[in-house]
Symmetry: C4
Subunit: 408 residues, 4 copies
């Protein structure tokens, strides 16, 4: 069923999604999301080179199958910042889940909880942190902060987040201004549904704002001292989100960061920034285990999760795929997406002799130079060829009398 918020169609589904892989959802979701909203999600900045290469670059690394491992029943459970998680996959912060579903972040958080995954909501969420907490109790939650120029606004946010039981803050530092996102220009995208913290603080509903305007509200200038200030004001651990080289990892740790998120904002900020997976080894070496590392950007497969963990990450974030799940199936749709990727990941744990997520961190990953094609399989709906129908290749009783070809 479709409900409308001032003419904007929102799904109200709550059903598990039947899929073969999450890549299929990017096409399927076009049928349930308006074009401008779809392209707000399914796009990157400029030529979308980094968006494409974020995923393709995982093929720069290959997983070596292992044998005689004497091990079965791997477990994808993991601990993170004192939280027990059923999967190392987490929900990345994305603004305005209302473009996918009437329950917006509440439904997403419910899906994450059902999958035992760490949920994170954005400063520019439609739903309040209170509503989300009410709907999900003390399920593991992080908050993503677009630091405002206005510290009173920030204080209000910290207090709300702390009392809603969020376990940490992810300070986004790589989007001081919006990347040059051509899709939004071509579709004239504006946020169709009010953003709670804006409504609460400035009264301006945040509705109808363009992406660039929204970013212009946030602080254009963030330095090391801000990390300490946020920690002190919020009383919560602070992760610096958007670190893409060793120098900035050292800077963040020096500033007191409790963790690092290796991210290039899903290829939505600097186009021709390197893929996150290509920068992870350098950053993990610099961090050297001092603080936990989350990696996001371009994650679609269990093998992506596997490689990120093996190359130094502790948690791996997914973005667009969960939002497609939200649009196609609400909370249960989000859960389906997390489970699909986690199931693929679990198969790889068995085939590489990794009993635990910790074992995966010692897996044998190679860097052989292949033409990193990112093609789908031959039976992928987008490329599957029509199958010939002949007298010889049809199940008996289903052939056409004359031609012998199949009737079904």
């Amino acid at each position: 069923m479709t409900v409308y918020y001032k003419g904007f169609p929102q799904s109200d589904r709550n059903e598990a999604i039947k899929m073969v892989n999450v890549d299929e959802l990017e096409d399927r979701v076009r049928k349930v999301m308006p074009e401008a909203a779809y392209y707000y999600i399914a796009s990157g900045s400029e030529n979308e080179w980094t968006w494409r290469n974020n995923t393709a670059a995982f093929n720069h690394f290959q997983i070596v199958p292992r044998s005689l491992t004497n091990m079965d029943n791997p477990s994808t459970e993991t601990q993170f910042m004192g939280m027990d998680l059923k999967t190392p996959i987490m929900i990345c912060p994305i603004a305005c889940h209302g473009i996918a579903h009437k329950d917006a972040e509440v439904a997403t958080a419910q899906g994450a909880k059902a999958a035992g995954a760490l949920f994170s909501s954005s400063t520019y969420a439609n739903r309040s942190v209170e509503d989300i907490a009410t709907a999900t109790g003390d399920s593991p939650k992080f908050f993503q902060l677009y630091l405002s120029k206005d510290w009173d606004f920030n204080k209000m946010v910290f207090d709300a987040v702390k009392s809603a039981g969020y376990k940490g803050i992810m300070l986004t530092v790589d989007a001081l201004v919006s990347g040059y996102r051509e899709a939004n220009l071509r579709t004239n995208f504006t946020f169709p549904v009010p953003l709670d913290f804006f409504t609460r603080y400035v009264g301006a509903e945040g509705e109808g704002m363009s992406v660039a305007q929204m970013y212009a509200n946030s602080a254009q200038k963030i330095g090391p001292a801000d990390v300490a200030k946020i920690k002190e004001m919020s009383g919560l651990p602070v992760f610096v989100k958007g670190v893409m080289n060793a120098e900035d990892a050292y800077m963040a740790i020096g500033a007191g960061a409790d963790g690092i998120v290796v991210s290039n904002h899903g290829g939505r900020e600097i186009d021709t920034a390197p893929a996150t997976i290509d920068m992870l080894p350098e950053i993990a070496a610099a961090v050297n285990g001092r603080v936990p590392i989350i990696l996001d950007s371009g994650v679609r497969r269990g093998s992506h999760v596997f490689k990120a963990l093996a190359l130094g990450a502790d948690l791996v974030g997914i973005g667009r795929p969960f939002l497609y799940g939200l649009a196609l199936g609400g909370a249960k749709g989000v859960e389906s997406v997390i489970n699909q990727i986690n199931n693929e990941f679990k198969i790889l744990m068995q085939l590489t002799g990794c009993k635990t997520v910790e074992d995966v961190k010692h897996a044998d990953i190679r860097q052989i130079n292949y033409t990193a094609d990112n093609l789908p399989s031959n039976t992928d709906p987008s490329v599957r060829r029509a199958y010939p129908v002949t007298k010889e290749n049809q199940m008996e009783g289903t052939q056409d009398a004359a031609t012998g070809a199949s009737k079904h």
Copy 2:
């Protein structure tokens, strides 16, 4: 002619196949195999990246033509584990040959025998090892073992295999669970014909089982000790099949393995595993001649056989191509496929001055970085352009009076 097993069409052909290369068969066989069975064979896990790159990666290596070699009449004969073979090409183990031909593994083994090649049958074969032995006498045969959780089942298998005159066991260690094979999900593939050992032991015909169910029957946990146990119970040499790096080669040899099969299961288990040819040099260096090495996965050409031998393999296995040959021509079809690849291989022996298969192991192979395209030739049916017909380019007497264009 087509016969039906409970409605499932099976070829009963026994004729040599006219082909230019084996790649042509992958398209041709669609006309004689039902779609689900076809895609069970012609598919890999997930995006099929490893399946594609298994073959494309052979182009990471180039064969240097040699001159003034003072040599002719090369011979492709070779010795392997005391067996005299007419070719270093062997038949890889594939389950359920009944999806291609009514005589299933019996026909395949006959074809292998005619070509003088080592045959191997799978634990999940349709036909019994006894039937196969009856049909082929003491032609060279290896048995591929999916170790069962149930050691009585294993004992039954070993005894049958030993008395049927099989010369060795290939212990598959890289498929404890099925890779995430999307083609089978999209076609709802289940095994259409009973699997002999299942029928014999558990009464369940194995018919109608999905791939994942089948694998679930096998041991999920295999360790070094199992190698010794199998050797001891079977009284046969044991090859560890699915080794993909030096560490596991050392492990297998340490466990008493009599040989190594470098394989990633034809790209059907871990997608974005490296191609086998790319891992062979490292493994061959580790094995250092202590035990024989077989390589499989992606082999289609004489040049693939040549490169695998030159980089450290002793035998080279083919899979899908022989099954297409079985469907298109039964035993003679299998023989045609082996001979086609062997003839291509023999030409390369002459053009590189390699009198014997041993000489090939010292051939000059280079690793120049080309864009490893895997395109067909211009006259390949899939890309061949229509040829213009003009007054000037037609054989005399075949032109159209008016246009001069050819009539035929």
Copy 3:
């Protein structure tokens, strides 16, 4: 409106251009330029490999996003040879702007002035240096010199250029003969509008001359001594344009050059010459700050400007894009193009913590081996897929009663 010079259509527009990126103009301009003139601009020599790779090679380098930079309001202003510029982007010399606009170089110079960019006009300009100076006062201007065999002609040019207030001479040394430009052969291109200096000196209007004839007029032989001679006769700083390796940079500096232009003439001379960005690091190291460096060839994006500055350039020239802007919008069109690329550049300065152009010269640039695809984004007009229209994905009130599909 379109005016005609002896039947040749020239735009007389003077309007800002609405664009998402400058790549779009290369297709749009086909509607306002005759085919032969279009392909004179939108082509390279032979297979156009260098033309293609000039732009694609920028993806050999990646921009690392930076965090906790404590900086906002970056400025793109820069000083160059004593001139204050609002942008490090300059207008490269291109012959015969009259093929795009009736006001030719005058309009281009006005656009450059409005954008605060260094303008350069070609020896083979339609409009005189005097007209250009009259129209633009003392806005920053360089003159590009095709040295003539006839030093009287050269003297006449130097005097005119000096008195018109030009601040420097760019001596083109990489086009002694025309590259093998197949597009011009296929369209029989000849210069449709008189070239001022030809008309002024030899009386021959230069009109109707082919590219090859034009080049044949210039000196076929230029050596180090010519640099000193030109400096002495012109009384202006001399930049050597067309330097593509360290050796020639040393030679040029040895010859007294006041600056280097790293250029392969936009891929219009030697095909399979390396891309300029790939040679810049070597040249910048050789120059070692002794003289300023300009880079041109293939620049389309703010990220290209960013990378060139970070790898050693002081100014970055654009060619074809500004000419498309001239055809589509006259002076204001040229200004739109410079501002589009400069705005993209400014976003990157903010996202990498570069307050000034000097800061950009210390940015973190990586050289990770990606398949350097040069694809457009998914919403680029040339590839954007039709969007499905369903009951669920349309704004309310815009659906078709029956299908629910959108009316607009």
Copy 4:
């Protein structure tokens, strides 16, 4: 006009060919050659990977444009084995020129003479060496030898070749058996016109023989001693043709070879052999100037000639392109092809400051890793897009009254 030899159409043209580049001829010639003959020429072995990469690999190397070179009027003249040549481009030996033109090798030799290029004819030529000599006097000629098993046949050949004034013998050592050429199998190609030396010696006209049968006549076994024997019996210098690594270059020189031809037989023997240009540096280093080096295989452009000379070759052979020229224009067609490539080469000499062919041998060539695309230019007939016709982009007086669109 078309004449027929037993129904086989042969061109009898003798006219210069108007072309933009030689690549265009490969498509154009389809209109004047029967399909089987065309594909005998325009094909390689197996997947034609080496045939494709022979040309694409030239893009592994880039030509650095040079500046302040103080040089003009380059000359492409060169000396080779005492012969004065107008170009370093030579005619490679190809069998049976009669498939392209009624005068076969006589016309080709005439064309080569007119262009001042070294001509070479094959053991399997249609026309006798006597006819060729009669038609061309003492123009520079080499003879390509397929050594026969029958030394009387060889003696007859040497005597004829010596008395016909040929200056050297190229002993082909890389085609002891035919590569696996799938095009010939698909078109059932057989030689349509008698091969002179076969007719002369064995009475069998050689007509109707397949490629494989032809090769079976030649010696399957050639060793170092044969080089000395041929030198001694022929009294002519002997070049070993088909050398593809340093070891074989040392072997050939050790055997008394007077020169080396770096060749992989145009990609018609071993598929996935490396491209000749990629092996030339190693071979040139091994030869170290002791004997001259010829390179062939995949040469289409002046830049290919330039790179081969710069990387160690003394002469550069072309094959298929001259045969297309022969079919499309007879002797003058061959001359057009040589001149087209030589003119492109001469432009590059000027733009790199190379006054002589010897200078080219010291040119600055780089090996930057590009995605070695081998695409044509945008105006290449095979890819050129239709140009939009609008009111604004048409020459005046040629517009349609109503639409303003052009009438022509």
